[in-house]
Amino acid sequence: MSDNFEPRIVGFLCNWCSYAGADMTGTSRIPYPPNIRIIRVPCSGRVDPLFVLKAFQEGADGVMVLGCHPGDCHYSEGNYHARRRYALMHRFLDFVGIEADRLCIDWVSAAEGHRFAQVVAQFTAQVQPLGPWNGLQRRRR
């Protein structure tokens, strides 16, 4: 894949931790890859796996689901549900041909500005060599 391919990444960030964490990254002026397009959701438990699949079909090359660390969920247990859901979804998407490396689920707290930048940079670097994703989409005629 060409070295200047810039993956398009959709990030579902929970309002209470990861989104605030991303804010912290910004206010602390920590640089992070501009590849991520952030969608704010109330909780990682709100991220229906169909959001992820839809993102892949609408042009995302990689999808991140970021939530509060286990034990810190604003709604007590949303991220525990997300953890189970995506442990399974990860393996299933790989089975239908969407490489496991294109999906990331991780935890970033509101105080972890540095960690947010790190997680995004790491994931961008991971998706980059895979090249653009254009499977299971509408074919150009």
């Binding site: 839809k54 953890r83 189970r84 995506y86 399974l88 299933f92 041909g97 299971l136 509408r138």
Partner: protein
């Protein structure tokens, strides 16, 4: 063997209807064209329409979906009897667990099952060769003797084969398969686990799945449907058998079943006590993400 099961089924059905224990017996009958089809018996005199052989592969639990509400407001939900193989009973177990139907509204005529055959052959279906239980886990009446068969060990060979391919090959495989789908939804209609009033595939606000019969819509439907059945699919294969396009839906379902077993140590419908894996969690579990 199937002769005696058939006789016992008819006797039991007639009895239940005569005593007024149930309003209807759901079983199998032979269609005018010779194939076995689902039958709904309301009169004792009709009980002799019931048949049993190795082509009674339909999962009749799906017909309970229409019978969980009273026919008219204020009336009682009628009690029905249903002929159930061991795999069907696991599907019923899922429905009971999800509060879809009350146990006392169903009379389970369990059948000890020697396995179902591939259409037009005497060869057992793959899922029946692998089957781990030949007698339903629960029933109100049992028909037939537990057959003497040695179940082969589950080796997930079909799933493992696909897992061995590269991601690109898998994508090509599924693109080819999904593309043949005509979106008739026969798979969904045949599935005991698909009872949503409004399926995500037909929801219009928000419109998750467009109305086009194109690859993205079809792929979306299949991936999401299989996922909705995670930890709930009992591998009865009703979906695949109903599919007019012979799409290998069992591969999708079995991949998920395999991972559910590996991740959560859970098998759908086997145990009425444990909640389905995606409806619960353990705080201390370590899951590979």
């Amino acid at each position: 063997m199937s002769e005696s099961i058939q006789t016992a089924l008819r006797t039991r059905a007639r009895e239940l209807l005569e005593l007024g224990e149930v309003s209807c017996v759901i079983g199998y009958e032979r269609s005018p064209r010779g194939r076995v089809r689902p039958a709904f018996i309301y009169e004792p005199a009709d009980a002799d329409r019931l048949v049993w052989d190795n082509t009674c592969h339909h999962n009749l639990m799906v017909y309970l979906h229409d019978r969980k509400t009273p026919p008219r407001r204020g009336e009682e939900v009628p009690r029905v009897a249903v002929v159930a193989k061991p795999c069907d009973v696991r599907a019923l177990n899922v429905l009971l667990h999800e509060g879809q139907i009350a146990r006392e509204k169903v009379f389970v005529i369990g059948v000890a099952c020697a396995g179902m055959c591939e259409e037009g052959t005497e060869e057992l279906q793959a899922r029946c060769r692998r089957c781990r239980e030949r007698v339903p886990i629960f029933y109100d009446a049992l028909v037939g003797e537990p057959p003497k068969v040695t179940a082969v060990d589950e080796d997930w060979a079909d799933v493992v084969e696909l897992e061995g391919m590269s991601a690109a090959e898998r994508l090509a495989f599924w693109t080819r398969e999904f593309d043949r789908c005509i979106r008739c939804y026969a798979c969904r209609q045949a599935c005991p686990g698909c009872y949503c009033f409004e399926c995500m595939a037909e929801q219009v606000d928000p419109l998750w799945v467009g109305i086009a019969i194109e690859l993205p819509e079809k792929a979306f439907f299949h991936v999401m449907r299989a996922y909705h059945l995670a930890g709930r699919c009992v591998e009865c294969n009703a979906c695949e058998l109903a599919c007019p396009m012979h799409i290998p839906l069992s591969l999708l379902n079995r991949k998920i079943a395999k991972e559910v077993e590996a991740l959560f140590g859970y098998r759908a419908g086997g145990d009425p006590q444990t909640p389905p894996p995606l409806a619960t969690f353990r705080k201390d579990e370590e899951l590979p993400l």
